[in-house]
């Protein structure tokens, strides 16, 4: 175990202790391999999240399950492997229902932080729209399956004093979930319950009353990430003419918060107006496209038939479409209704709700009223989206940098503080 051996990582020679796992061995040499399921207390590595996929002697494998040996050749940061790791994170986002703006763990979430590190602005995979439940039954804990990434940490780590499992995988394949055993959960001490919440790399396990401990800015990854910069790689789109750029904006199923943030560019908006002319937009109150636009900025996802029409109109009339804000990218807060049957949503809103008049029995409907869709969809599930600006709302600087990037073909990088999903 204490023998020093030589390994090659991305073409450079390093020394490591024989038999040490590759994540740790690389870390000792100052090389970072991202992980999600791996944590240093765990005895047998889980190898479930696959984020630490690297290439060892030509074969892809996970570094947490690989022990180093003499002469080992490891590739970690090749473009292909970086892309694979990013894809895995994106697949986790597509599989679950992750709404960072409304998540208790936001800012302390390992998966979110990896998303920031890798510059994930949207998922390349279509959303799975899985039917998952939030289990409040247990007295102390909440199991939020929508966020669970099935890393198995809690299943392996959290046991009662008599050695029984508190959490377990149930079902298999795409239907696999982690469930709590209510009876066993009662046997845990408060400290053990907190431990369960803390080892959860996402916001799936929550201890009631013990969430929202730190204010924004002081959360785990707010602090550690201050100096990091996220590189965003996008293809430049060339423009030909030298006239003013024409921009259109709209808010679909959104709250106009992203538009507010757009105005937060402050005085720089004057610079923008030098080169930009707004067409159809709530800012100008122009209701119909009067000419073809270079850029369309879309806030909000698609919740009803009108949203779809507007979005398709934008796609037809604009050369470049930019989805800005979590709702446009992931569906956001409105998409949280996807977990509730549409009928219940409507009845709650118009018939049984606290604010509905007693005796009300009508759900407003008329051919002029847009029809609600079965799900709230992210914009890229309907039309092609060229750029994504995450955030709830997106940071004004981030929006400005993207606009500059598109209009002036300038390279840009986003600081950790500007790149947020919440």
């Amino acid at each position: 175990m204490n023998n020093l051996i030589n390994i090659t990582i991305d073409g450079k020679q390093y020394q490591a202790h024989e038999g040490k796992n590759l994540v740790e061995a690389a870390k000792e040499n100052g090389i970072y391999i991202p992980t999600l399921c791996h944590f240093h207390e765990i005895n047998t590595p889980l190898g479930t999240c696959r984020i630490c996929t690297v290439c060892v002697n030509g074969k892809t494998t996970t570094s947490c399950t690989t022990k180093v040996y003499e002469g080992m050749e490891v590739e970690i940061n090749t473009p292909e492997l970086l892309n694979t790791r990013k894809a895995i994170i994106e697949m986790l986002y597509a599989e679950g229902n992750h709404f960072c703006p409304s998540c208790e763990k936001s800012g302390n979430c390992d998966m979110q932080n990896l998303g920031y590190d890798m510059g994930v602005t949207n998922s390349r995979f279509p959303h799975v729209y899985s039917n998952k439940v939030v289990d409040f039954t247990s007295d102390r804990m909440i199991m939020e399956s929508n966020r669970c990434i099935l890393c198995k940490r809690c299943v392996e780590e959290i046991k009662t004093k008599d050695g029984k499992d508190v959490f377990s995988f149930v079902s298999r394949g795409i239907k696999t979930r982690v469930h709590i055993d209510y009876e066993q959960e009662k046997k845990l001490t408060d400290a053990e319950a907190m431990h369960a919440m803390n080892i959860c790399p996402v916001g799936a396990i929550l201890v009631k009353g013990m969430i929202y401990e730190q204010p924004f800015g002081d959360r785990k990854y707010d602090m550690t990430g201050k100096l990091k910069e996220t590189q965003i790689h996008t293809d430049f789109i060339k423009r030909n003419d030298e006239n003013k750029f024409i921009v259109a904006t709209t808010s679909l199923a959104g709250c106009f918060g992203c538009h507010m943030s757009l105005l937060d560019i402050d005085l720089e908006i004057l610079d923008i107006l030098e080169i930009v002319e707004f067409n159809k937009s709530p800012l100008t109150d122009i209701k119909k496209f009067s000419k073809r636009c270079d850029i369309g900025l879309i806030e909000g996802g698609c919740a009803n038939s009108e949203n779809i029409e507007v979005l398709k109109e934008f796609r037809k009339k604009c050369d470049i479409l930019v989805a800005f804000g979590e709702c446009a990218i992931m569906g956001g807060i409105p998409a949280m209704r996807n977990f509730v049957p549409l009928k219940e949503c409507l009845e709650e809103a118009y018939i049984h709700g606290l604010t509905s008049e007693i005796g009300t029995n009508i759900i407003p409907n008329h051919e002029d009223i847009p029809k609600l869709l079965n799900n709230v969809y992210p914009c890229n599930e309907i039309v092609k989206i060229d750029y994504y600006i995450p955030g709830c709302p997106p940071n004004a600087n981030h929006i400005w940098k993207v606009v500059k990037n598109i209009l002036l073909n300038e390279e840009y990088s986003i600081t950790h503080e500007e790149f947020k999903y919440d």
Partner: protein
């Protein structure tokens, strides 16, 4: 119709007696869990909350852990699965036969849709992945009994007879062996020839364990389940691990769609298998052998057990076998419960230990820490059956058959569009083209080689030979971008198969076959890692998008990219091989995809506004009528 009360009573009493018996043995071993669950499933037709409470207490595990185990296996049910539980095979080969008509007849006769149970709990009707009867499709299992070559008429008779009180057993039919071919030169036949009990095993009288291992190593015998790990090396590693207890496990979880050669071997030559296990036990120093038999082959259990008994009675199993001191060996059967992944050796071991059949990270190989933490050899049925034959015929004779890297013969299960369906024993080295004419394939267009985790072969591959010669590393083999380069580089490369060969002619819809394949992996992924769990689900959606004519060229590029990502990053062999067929089909049959494609567009054609608002329209109508 409902059962008379007395039947309920009998069921309850037997289960109670059973549980009381179980209780008496203190701290039952976890590895008995699957058997207990099977007993209750068989008697009660499901595992109730009350049963679960008792079981979790007896096994000293939490309810949720137990539920995790039960819900992992698709033959275990948490609600009543019917007195007669029907599983209809939904795999591609079945689909190409009478699946649709048979399914419809079942549904009409029972008055339920597939996936449901009749109101009187008499019949449950479910679909299942390939049940190892591809040469006699359409096939189904009813309470574990096989029904082959089903037609709508047969289904009607079966259902009405069951309703009239006939036993399932009396209606089921024993699957045929369909052994179609053995090498012309009888001296070159290894498996399908006269078997005389104990002939191979008796050779141990003159061989030391080390000599046996050397012999097997020299024979270049390798894992016939499809992984082709050298058997001799595996045994030697196990032998070198000192332990008070070691195990020989026979992997009889023949789940790869289109494979059924192990079924035929176990049906016709169970003795060969038992001898193989005993020899393996002798070689590595193990005294216990376990056959992990897939639940779909329940009907083979009795005859194998009978053979085991005969072996025991004639002193070929038990203590001091053949008078050799300390050569003690027993064999028993462990039933699986419906999970393709349990064919993966570490998942198989987890399943035998009464856990969810999830593969391990291979921190330790089974030969180091396997079943119950003890050194364990896991070998395929065919591998083990070859062992006594090698001893019997001698190394030199064995090596004279087949090719240099793969001596001997190979069993291949043949299904699909050919005249002579069944099992073939061929000498390694036969050209695929010759094999296709041997099976009388009718105008073969695509050959699905090695099952759903194998690859699609087109006519450019037909001149390759079936052997393990000149193999390429997998990441090269599945990474060709250009079909011309592929055919140039692969022409001399051997084709090595675990045993499944499905042949399709031009009339078959290739995309439909791929849809069936992706669906299979969605159903069989264990769910532990995201690339396999969700990646395959998304690929299945993509294939549907193609079929609906909503896909464009970008979708094909995405399929390629995603398939490669799944291949690179999945946790076990299931995920890593799940996209092989898709990748090879894209390379070799691009025109099959292209004919479905639409022009590239900025709009996602698979989003349909009418469908998306349909729900809303119905709700508005419903609510208006409810509250009027």
């Amino acid at each position: 119709m409902s059962y008379p009360i007395s039947i309920y009573k009998v069921i309850l009493v037997t289960t109670l007696i059973f549980l009381i018996m179980v209780t008496k043995e203190n701290a039952i071993h976890r590895s008995k869990l699957l058997n207990v669950l099977w007993d209750i499933q068989r008697k009660r037709r499901f595992i109730s909350r009350d049963d679960m409470k008792k079981i979790s207490k007896e096994f000293n595990i939490s309810m949720i852990e137990l539920e995790g185990v039960i819900s992992f296996y698709h033959f275990f049910h948490l609600s009543n699965a019917g007195k007669y539980t029907i599983y209809l095979n939904c795999s591609t080969i079945s689909q190409h036969k009478d699946y649709q008509a048979v399914k419809k007849t079942f549904q009409d006769e029972l008055g339920i849709l597939i996936g449901n149970v009749t109101k009187d709990n008499l019949f449950g009707f479910f679909k299942t992945s390939c049940i190892g009867l591809s040469d006699q499709e359409t096939s189904a299992l009813i309470n574990g009994h096989p029904f082959t070559n089903l037609t709508p008429e047969k289904v009607q008779t079966i259902i009405s007879k069951l309703r009239n009180g006939h036993s399932v057993e009396s209606l089921s039919n024993d699957p045929k062996n369909n052994i179609q071919y053995t090498p012309k030169d009888e001296a070159k036949t290894i498996f399908f020839k006269t078997y005389s009990k104990g002939k191979g095993l008796s050779k141990l009288a003159t061989l030391t364990p080390d000599e046996v291992i050397q012999l097997i190593t020299k024979s270049k015998l390798s894992g016939r389940g499809g992984a082709f790990f050298p058997t001799g090396m595996k045994w030697e590693m196990c032998r070198n691990n000192k332990s008070d207890q070691k195990y020989i496990i026979c992997n009889a979880d023949e789940g790869e769609p289109g494979t059924f050669k192990d079924r035929v071997l176990m049906n016709k030559y169970p003795g060969l298998l038992i001898e193989g296990m005993a020899i393996a036990g002798y070689a590595v120093g193990a005294h216990e052998g376990i056959i992990y038999l897939r639940a779909e082959y329940l009907y083979l259990k009795e005859s194998i057990e009978k053979t085991i008994k005969e072996f025991e009675e004639s002193g070929l199993l038990g203590k001091n076998i053949l008078g050799i001191n300390n050569f003690d060996f027993t064999v028993h059967i462990q039933m699986g419960a419906g999970a393709y992944i349990c064919g993966e050796e570490t998942a198989l071991i987890a399943s035998m230990e009464g856990k969810r059949g999830e593969p391990s990270t291979k921190e330790y190989f089974p030969v180091e820490k396997g079943f119950l933490g003890k050194p364990t050899v896991v070998n395929n049925v065919e591998t083990l059956c070859a062992v006594p034959r090698i001893l019997e015929m001698g190394l030199d004779n064995y090596l004279s058959i087949g090719t240099k890297e793969t001596p001997g013969t190979k069993l291949l299960s043949v299904s699909g569009d050919c005249k002579k369906l069944g099992v073939y024993e061929i000498e390694w080295g036969m050209k695929l083209r010759d094999f296709l004419s041997l099976i009388e394939a009718e105008d073969p267009y695509m050959v699905l080689f090695n099952g759903f985790s194998g690859e699609c072969l087109s006519k450019v591959d037909f001149d390759r030979e079936i052997s393990g010669e000149n193999l390429l590393a997998e990441h090269i083999q599945f990474n060709f971008k250009d079909p011309i380069e592929y055919s140039r580089k692969m022409s001399g490369v051997g084709l090595r198969s675990g045993g499944s060969i499905m042949v399709f002619n031009k009339s078959r819809n290739l995309i439909g076959i791929l849809k069936n394949i992706t669906k299979f992996f969605v159903a069989e992924s264990c769910g532990i890692c995201v690339p396999c769990r969700t990646g395959n689900f998304l690929l299945n959606k993509k294939i549907n998008k193609i079929i609906f004519g909503h896909a464009d060229i970008k979708d094909l590029e995405q399929i390629k990219e995603w398939s490669t990502i799944i291949k690179q990053s999945s946790r076990c062999g299931l995920g890593k091989t799940s996209t092989n067929c898709l990748l090879t089909a894209l390379l070799k049959f691009p025109e099959e995809f292209k004919k479905y494609l639409t022009a590239e567009s900025n709009f996602n054609h698979s989003f349909n506004i009418e469908n998306a608002v349909e729900n809303y329209n119905t709700i508005i109508q419903e609510i208006e009528s409810t509250y009027e």
